[in-house]
Amino acid sequence: MQQSHRIVGLITAAIGAAAFYGGTQLPPSPGQNIGPSLFPMVIGTGLMFCGVLIALGVGRSYEAEVKAEMAALEETFAEQEAGTQGRFHGYRAFIPPALMIFFAAALEPLGFVATAALVALALSRLLGATWWVAAATALISAPLIHLAFFKLLRVPLPAGLVPMPW
């Protein structure tokens, strides 16, 4: 835990240093003493200072208090969670943003309905649905969302491989 605080503090201070350096590289405003560099430099300084405080463990007592308060409420959940965790369980969390990036990349070549159906199928399966339920979710949700956004809200969603009749 001590180590984790130091790493978080260090990362915070590094972001602050980068912001400060980035600020110094900005060109000044012609004829003005105060330019676009001031604000990032102030923020960078603040982040560096806070990073050091985090690394030193300042403010940890507050976190402990809140954690203790929430732990009582979440004990039922924690019991259920204990049985489901494997070694790489935590990494599953990064699947949704990865699917969104896939969505962004595939939207133009595959079209909205095909891409959305693939994303829905994958996520539904990963959340424990059977193949049938996942396929049904994908095949119903993708055209319905297309109908709502394309037809009703007039968002120009690419048609791609599976053009819709509307």
Binding site: G22, I34, P40, Y62, P96, A104, L107, A129
Partner: protein, 500 residues
């Protein structure tokens, strides 16, 4: 009176009434599902508001958020899992009531006093906002700077986290707001040559990422909530009038606390509920009954979290300073619809402001029948598995952010901010403080730079005007508050213990 009639005309349009009804149903369903928050419900609505009239757009946000905050109490009472963070403070109390075989009473209190609190909040908004607007018309950039700074400091103090981490969150938010050309010199900052970043990081995409994508991420690693037992409820609203007469102080104090917490920037319905539940327990004559299914705390905190919703619109409408995460999103919609926040909004667009008050009232009235239906359907709605709901939520995030500028880069921004929100919460950094930083970054910088230019770089004028001096003192006190608390703790720890 003419303004009020004009406002009524604005609200009584078919599109506005339909928007209120549909958004209310949507808010009810989303709020009742554990893991889907009121802020997330609001964030996902934003792309739809692009296509609505200004009043209909505001109406969807107000209605959906009010319903979601109430509906969060339903799984809290039936499953001991708060539907939204705003219900967490009194979930144990509500569940204890259910275990005593009185779920109707717990749900009835949640519904009745949520509506009552919401009503009180709407009245407070109606009274406070115009008065403050008149006062705020005299503010210069110095006052705006201190006000924005004070707002950010308040957000860091009220966050349920380490104050240092809250300040870091806020600073990171300000840093994100620096990206792009929207600065006094219009110089591209931190764009790394990416053309899409010249206009800055789109706030709505970032908020969808932090509140909706991050929530889907959390659902990937936590087990789905258990299905509630099928049960038939008796009368939901029986005894509520009797409780209203029995606990008038709790109800009034809860509403008042909620309004005050709502007005404080960054403090939303969840903090209002925690504060009110603690106050209720502290001052109750039946303190020992708390935790055993006692109605008093439920009444006070239930009224408080809904009252805070209207309270949080006060700084948002007056200064563009979000009262909570929901209004942080709403401010974006206000700008988009040409209702730029500021004191002049109450004079130039008075009919729109009256319309907003009327919508608040309508939403509270609609909450009662819709809430009754939702409670009856709760067993079915709470059975919806994550594997059905989350794919739809993720698709709505993707298509919603795409709709903002018809560009795929907005989807990538939402994905990246999903990871940011998820990681920050994992390491104890409050996301709300960052959101405030992002939303208020431009306002703060503009006020800061304009004030410095006016004063020729001299800091003294920042403290010379009476209002700015008061605001500056408050802001500095907020900044020093964690240090003072820490020092006080050290002194108390060192003080000799009296053996008597």
């Amino acid at each position: 009176m003419t303004t009020f009639v004009d406002a009524l005309h604005l609200v009584l349009q078919t599109d506005v009434l339909l928007a209120i009804l549909l958004a209310s149903i949507y808010g009810m369903v989303v709020g009742a599902m554990p893991g889907l928050t009121a802020t997330m419900a609001t964030a996902l609505l934003v792309p739809i508001t692009f296509y609505l009239s200004p009043i209909a757009a505001i109406a969807t946000i107000i209605s959906a958020s009010a319903m979601a905050i109430f509906a969060g109490d339903i799984p809290g009472a039936l499953l001991r899992i708060p539907g939204t963070p705003a219900s967490a403070a009194y979930t144990d109390e509500a569940y204890a009531m259910t275990r005593k075989g009185r779920p109707e009473l717990a749900l009835g209190i949640a519904l009745w006093f949520s509506a009552a609190g919401g009503f009180a909040g709407a009245i407070a908004l109606m009274v406070i906002a115009p008065v403050l607007a008149e006062f705020a018309l005299r503010f210069s950039t110095f006052e705006y700077f201190w006000l924005a700074f004070l707002g950010l400091m308040c957000a860091t103090i009220v966050s349920r986290s380490s104050p240092v981490k809250a300040v870091v969150s806020m600073l990171l938010g300000l840093l994100i707001a620096c990206v792009g050309m929207e600065n006094p010199a219009a110089t591209p900052r931190f764009t790394f040559g990416i053309t899409d970043l010249l206009g800055g990081i789109d706030v709505i995409s970032a908020l969808v990422g932090m509140f909706a994508v991050a929530e889907v991420m959390r659902c990937m690693i936590k087990p789905a909530p258990p299905a509630p037992p099928r049960r038939k409820f008796g009368s939901i609203l029986a005894n509520q009038w009797q409780l209203t007469k029995q606990y008038p102080v709790a109800q009034a104090r809860g509403s008042l606390t909620g309004i005050m917490v709502g007005v404080v920037p960054g403090a939303g319905a969840d903090i209002a509920a925690w504060v009110s539940y603690s106050i209720s327990k502290r001052f109750s004559k039946e303190r020992k009954k708390f935790g055993t299914g006692h109605p008093e705390g439920l009444i006070e905190a239930g009224a408080s979290n809904n009252a805070s919703l209207a309270g949080s619109w006060v700084p948002s409408l007056l200064f563009g300073i979000p009262g909570d995460t929901i209004t942080a999103i709403a401010i974006g919609v206000l700008y988009m619809k040409g209702l730029n926040p500021g004191p002049t909004l109450f004079t130039d667009k008075a009919d729109h402001m009256y319309a907003l008050y009327i919508i608040f009232m309508l939403a509270q009235i609609l909450m009662i029948p819709l809430g009754l239906v939702m409670i009856r359907l709760a067993s079915q709605v709470l059975r919806a598995p994550y594997s059905l709901v989350m794919p739809v939520v993720l698709l709505c995030c993707a298509v919603g952010t795409f709709a903002i500028g018809n560009t795929a880069s907005a989807i990538v921004i939402a994905a990246v901010f999903g990871v940011v929100g998820f990681t920050m919460e994992r390491y104890g950094f409050p996301v709300a403080a960052m959101v405030l930083g992002i939303v208020m970054g431009t306002l703060l910088e503009q006020a800061f730079i304009a004030s410095l230019m006016k004063s020729g770089g001299n800091p003294m004028p920042f403290f010379e005007r009476p209002v700015s001096m008061v605001l500056a003192s408050m802001a500095i006190l907020c900044l020093a508050w964690p240090v003072l608390l820490w020092l006080y703790g050290r002194v108390r720890a060192k003080a000799p213990v009296n053996p008597g």
